[in-house]
């Protein structure tokens, strides 16, 4: 198969016009046979084929065609032409690229990549210009509309046997194992949150957000050296095994089921890095897809129970770990300042379920107090994680 292209006919025109096909589609042509008339802004030119063959017309009459564009194809036999037609995708017969009906801005493309949204899905919006805001709103809509896999209301009206979603069945196995094997105790602490919540102020909008989850991951990781038993695994024979580093699992359920992705070696990461990892995790949770490696290897877990108005949550201790922290919702209270005035401040409750075979109540409360000290510190929390915290 040979392509028939338009030669450069002058310096004036960006493109010419195919005014007439002189040879019919499918015609068997001899060498030097004239096939089409191309009109420039100054003259009409007859195009001929150098060698013979069977013609397939590509460009339509009255189409614009630039120098070098393909207006037809030549095949050695009619059969070869037929085979090509059978194999080819439907061609844009006018020889021009398909005109895009929709303009997608660069910020919108970036947002789509960020949220893992296929741009073609956005066609349902019926917009001819897609901006970043459209993508963000679309992502939020998807999140809201995704059916809750373990929502019993959907079938409660009927009677009979309901099969739980696979994700919920898997959760069921883990919690059963936890309850059967881990004698857990629980404690909770109240932590002033104004300092931590102020950390986001002044950050550039493109930077990943920093809130209590990010700060709590960093605070927990900073305590790895001083509280190794909180990061251990009970072996059942009076011993625990300890692995290096703080690998902090974070529970995320954004409608596609519960996932516990792990921030690997969180103690070695900056706050910005932790925030970036958590942002990626949230997107993956939104899509319901994680790589297996992202979900494995945690040695401590934070359960994010910080939905509005949650006062207390008592998570299960994951088998293989010795404790789990629960971050509850931010709340407000009135306090009396040292000057005797009444002020509003924000606080959170952080709960801790722990394997009582490994950790004593004293251990757990010491751990919680150190977290409180770090989160409530107005300075950089990682600085507060070391130094003068002994003796609490």
């Amino acid at each position: 198969m040979r392509e028939i292209t338009v030669p450069k006919l002058n310096n004036n025109d960006d493109s010419y016009v195919l005014v007439e096909w002189l040879a019919q589609d499918g015609a068997e042509l001899a060498a030097d046979a004239p096939i089409a008339v191309i009109e420039t802004s100054k003259a009409a030119e007859e195009l001929a084929v150098a060698e013979g063959g069977v013609l397939l017309q590509v460009a339509q009459v009255n189409a614009s065609c630039a120098a070098g564009s393909v207006i037809g194809r030549l095949f050695p036999t009619a059969q070869a032409r037929q085979e090509f037609l059978g194999a080819a995708q439907p061609e844009h017969r006018d020889g021009s690229p398909p005109s895009g009906d929709v303009i997608v801005t660069r910020p919108a493309r970036e947002a789509a990549a960020e949220f893992g949204i296929d741009l073609t899905d956005l066609r349902v919006l019926g917009k001819n210009v897609l901006r970043r805001q459209d993508v963000e709103e679309f992502a939020a809509t998807i999140r809201a509309q995704t059916p809750q896999p373990e929502d019993p209301q959907t079938e409660a009206a009927g009677e009979g046997i309901i099969t739980l979603p696979a994700v919920q069945q898997a959760v069921g196995q883990v919690v059963t194992q936890s309850h059967q094997s881990i004698p857990a105790a629980f404690a909770a602490i109240k932590i002033p949150a104004d300092a931590a919540l102020g950390r986001q102020a002044g950050r550039p909008p493109e930077a990943p957000p920093i809130g209590l989850p990010e700060l709590l991951v960093q605070a927990v990781a900073a305590l790895r050296e001083r509280h190794p038993l909180c990061f251990a695994s009970y072996r059942g024979d009076g011993t625990v095994s300890v692995i290096g580093g703080a690998h902090v699992g974070v529970t995320l359920d954004l409608g596609r089921g519960l996932f516990v992705p792990v921030v690997r070696d969180a103690g070695a990461r900056s706050l910005d890095e932790i925030a970036g990892v958590l942002t990626d995790f949230r997107i993956s949770a939104l899509r319901g897809s994680f790589r297996a490696a992202e979900l494995a290897g945690g040695n401590i877990t934070i359960s994010l129970s910080n939905d509005a108005d949650v006062v207390l949550a008592r998570p299960i201790v994951f088998p293989g770990q010795t404790c789990v922290l629960a971050l509850c919702a931010t709340q407000e209270e009135l306090v009396r300042t040292p000057a005797g005035e009444i002020a509003t401040r924000r606080y959170v409750n952080v709960g801790m379920s722990y394997d009582h075979r490994v950790l004593s109540g004293r251990d757990a409360i010491a751990f919680l107090h150190e977290i409180k000290r770090i989160l409530a510190a107005p300075d950089h929390p990682s600085d507060a994680g070391t130094g003068d915290l002994d003796g609490n």
Partner: protein
Amino acid sequence: MPESERVVTNLNRALGALLDKDQRVYVLGEDIGDPYGGAFKVTRGLSTRFPGRVLSTPISESAIAGVAGGLALAGDRPVIEVMFGDFAGLCFDQLYNFAAKSVSMYGHRVPMPMIVRCPVGGNRGYGPTHSQNPQKHFIGIPNLSLWELSPLHDNAVVLDRIMDRGEPAILFEDKTLYSRRMHRDGVISGPLRFDFPGGDGNWARVYVGRPDPADYVIIAPGGLAERAWQAAADLLVEHELTGQVLVPSRLYPVDLEPLLPAVRDAGLICIAEEGVTGGTWGAEVANQLYGRLWADLKRPIRLVSSADSVIPTAPHLEREVLVQSETIYRAVCEALDA
């Protein structure tokens, strides 16, 4: 979908219609007769259809303009072609001291309907004396109106409108437009749309999707219009900046009234033209806008012109001198700090 006609075809058809409906119309110019049909083929076929009224002339722009002025004074309606607008300078005295003045210097108004067609503009590698935009040299002459070819304005309407003014007029025709397509039914391509705010059809407004409240407005004559809306598309894609491109058919006298609602609220007004910088049409428009909108303007009006230079023949050097879509894009980005 069948493609719309090319600009050169549209202009040819408009000239044919003018000749067809009015016996007083003559078309004069160098080498405009068949079979050559003019350097840019605008008059192709017309000398065959209208023998005796479409005439090739000697090579003297001054003489052609002088004959046209005489025809107009005698009640005819001449259209002349100056093969390259660069040579309109040779017509200057005939227009400045005779044709335009004749409208009003005899104590009563004398209709002088005549059109001087001038292919102008560069990006063709034609060099310093065949690539210029001499529009600015003709601004401010009483009773001389200036017009510009555009892929948005139907030339049949434009030629009628010019003739109906009863004054000499120059129609500047960016020669890169001839082989482009006319746009019709308010659609350019993809989501690019246009309409004619103001009712009289003089100003075309190009926008993406819908005429949003605009971050910026680009005012650009027909030859630059495509480069301007390319810049607007790029500004949208890269920076999510929403803009409008406003394209006049008549350059002068400037009629700003239909524009004021659109430009009043814009974050930036940018006026682009291909002519070289200094004493420009854009400066005239900006001056009038300042007078009308001083209290509303968010920032200084930005003028975009070609460089203070002769126009080089070598394509890469010519490109640097002349306004391109990137030139407009950069100017808007700079002014809006995008």
